[in-house]
Amino acid sequence: MKGPNASASTKPFKRAFLKNLLLSLQDCSRATPFDAMSLHDRKRAVKSSADVAMAAARGGGARWPKAILPHASAATTACNKAQSCRRIVRRCFCHKGRGARRRVVVAATGSDVARRLVKRRTTALRKVIPGGDAMDELSLLREAMDYVVHLRAQVDVLRRVSEAVQKRSCDCDSLRDASPYLVQSGEELVEHDFVLFFESSVRKL
């Protein structure tokens, strides 16, 4: 049984996610020149790298990271095959059920309505959670819990990063205007000053 994970610390995950994110962004910038990319492409690169970073940082404890990461090792191909088979079978049954249900008179009993609602929402949840197609309801709920926790951590990290970058760029501009001395000094010194200034600004947050 899954214990309460709301109180679990996500700090290691956040650290790993940040590291992965920076690495992947660096690779992206090395691969394609970012000046040539449009805003949407850049956003997509950032988002996909964030998703991949989250999945990589999560490790092997859940099934949704494997759905995000397209690379499949030898061990996971068997699982993927089973999952895809399950997915296909479920889709066949779902389609069959839907067709059969249309011909039947709509039942007005409360429990039937509730059951239909639950079923519809379960399928919607499957679409939202990565890799949710091939799971039964029980594991779907567990994956949803896990995914929510890590998604929240991802949002938190991304927010901090974007704030930091934004603040730094603003301050960097103001710094450059205010103290030309910084620009003239060596690059290392500039970076070092930036670091210190950044540090102080972050402390004010």
Binding site: L39, L141, R159, F198
Partner: protein, 432 residues
């Protein structure tokens, strides 16, 4: 737990006979879904298999719910010893969870003095349980409520219903009422459950089908439980006995079928699955903000879906913001790392002096001094590049219109602070 094991061995010798097979079935059909308790309770369930009395079942349900009850153990044991011998191990079993149970000892003696030991034990359990419920009050919360519901559903006896109702109403005179019902109920219990007697004739087993048929009728009024009722008692008895023996041999999660519910493996497994699902829904309720008052699977699922979708939209928005703010996308590594260091406690500030060295083009982020914690084995940057390029290429067609749709609304809030973003999930009126 040693006492329990020895008692179980003692019980097994009694239950090995033919009639003993019928008894576990009766036993099985009385328990509600208390398996969802702690694993300690599950072990207790293993013990309980050998017991046959309804009262023991009720007691164990009380115990496994971790009620802090104090029992008049001496009175209990004396009463039990007056009853059949198999009830004797039970009080030894009781002190595990019962500590402060304000049961009227007079009531206990009254119940114990009643006709059949099985019925007496039952009344002991039922009446005491009612008193317990009255005294504990809100301490049980939903657990006791659920048990009472199960109890109400199981019993087709008015006396039992009365007791359950009394326990529920928290009337101070419930003990007296329970005592009144005890004589009535014990008679009926004696009538209805003659096969509780250890070493009873095999003839009594034939009463089981009638009993389970009776009980199944009354259990149907619980709408949520859609498990099929047993058609033939013999079939259920056979399967139940088989299940008992199987679950005794294998180390599965022991589920007790409620009285009147089908005891074949399918419905048991289904009930187990349903309980797991409801338990996980409760956990999800804690995760998703603002869902403490929501009851029901459908609404809960709706909230979860909304929350996940809002989180995913936040990710998109933030990545868009990052792409906007940083046109070169070369996030200043050491600056961000310093922020990382400041954010995560436990890292001393002297490591910040390392950061200018991080400007080295061959970024070695695997420095343990700076990055702590569980880092996945993605040290190879090529993997990232491959993955991201594959993803960018694959999602090109699908993401572009989606991105445009998403951004019409989101670009209207470019100045949204972080606080607004966090408020958004709860304000989300997004309908499916």
């Amino acid at each position: 737990m040693d006492m329990n094991e020895s008692s179980e061995k003692g019980m097994k010798s009694n239950a090995s006979s033919g009639p003993g097979n019928g008894i576990p079935v009766e036993w099985q059909s009385q328990f509600s879904g208390t398996f969802s308790c702690t694993p300690a309770a599950q072990q207790q369930h293993a013990m309980m298999e050998s017991f046959a009395a309804v009262s023991a079942g009720l007691w164990a349900s009380a115990t496994s719910q971790n009620m802090a009850l104090s029992s008049d153990v001496s009175a209990m044991s004396s009463a039990a010893q007056r009853s059949a011998g198999f009830l004797a191990p039970m009080p030894a079993f009781l002190p595990q969870g019962l500590s402060h149970f304000p049961v009227d000892s007079g009531f206990i003696e009254r119940a114990a003095r009643s006709t059949c030991f099985g019925g007496g034990g039952g009344m002991m359990g039922a009446g005491a349980y009612g008193a317990a419920d009255q005294s504990m009050g809100d301490a049980f919360g939903g657990a006791a409520e659920r048990l009472m519901d199960h109890h109400r559903n199981e019993c087709n006896d008015k006396a039992d219903l009365e007791i359950a109702g009394n326990g529920h109403d928290e009337v101070p005179s419930s003990e007296a009422a329970g005592g009144d019902c005890s004589s009535k109920g014990s008679d009926s219990k004696k009538r209805r459950r003659p096969n509780e007697v250890m070493g009873a004739d095999q003839v009594h087993c034939s009463n089981l089908p009638a009993d389970s048929a009776n009980e199944s009728v009354h259990s149907k009024d619980k709408g949520e439980e859609s498990s099929p009722a047993t058609t033939t008692g013999g079939k259920s008895k056979g399967k139940g006995a088989k299940d008992t023996s199987e679950s005794q041999k294998e180390d599965y999660i022991h589920v007790r079928a409620r009285r009147g519910q089908a005891t074949n493996s399918h419905s048991l497994a289904e009930r187990l699955r349903r309980e797991k699902i409801s338990e996980r829904m409760k956990l999800l309720q804690d995760l998703v903000p603002g869902c403490s008052k929501v009851t029901g699977k459908a609404v809960m699922l709706d909230e979860i879906i909304n929350y996940v979708q809002s989180l995913q939209r936040q990710v998109e928005f933030l990545s868009m913001k990052l792409a906007t703010v940083n046109p070169r996308l070369d996030l200043n590594i050491e600056g961000l790392l310093s922020k990382d260091l400041l954010r995560f406690p436990g890292v001393h500030s002297s490591s910040i002096g390392f950061s200018p060295e991080m400007m080295h083009p061959q970024l070695q982020l695997s420095q343990p001094g700076l990055i702590q914690g569980g880092a996945a084995g993605m040290a190879n940057p090529d993997v990232f590049r491959r993955i991201i390029q594959a993803q960018l290429g694959a999602k090109e067609g699908s993401q572009m219109p989606h991105a445009l749709n998403g951004y019409v609304s989101q670009m209207a809030y470019p100045s949204l602070g972080s606080q607004d973003l966090s408020i958004r999930p709860s304000q989300d009126g997004f309908q499916m």
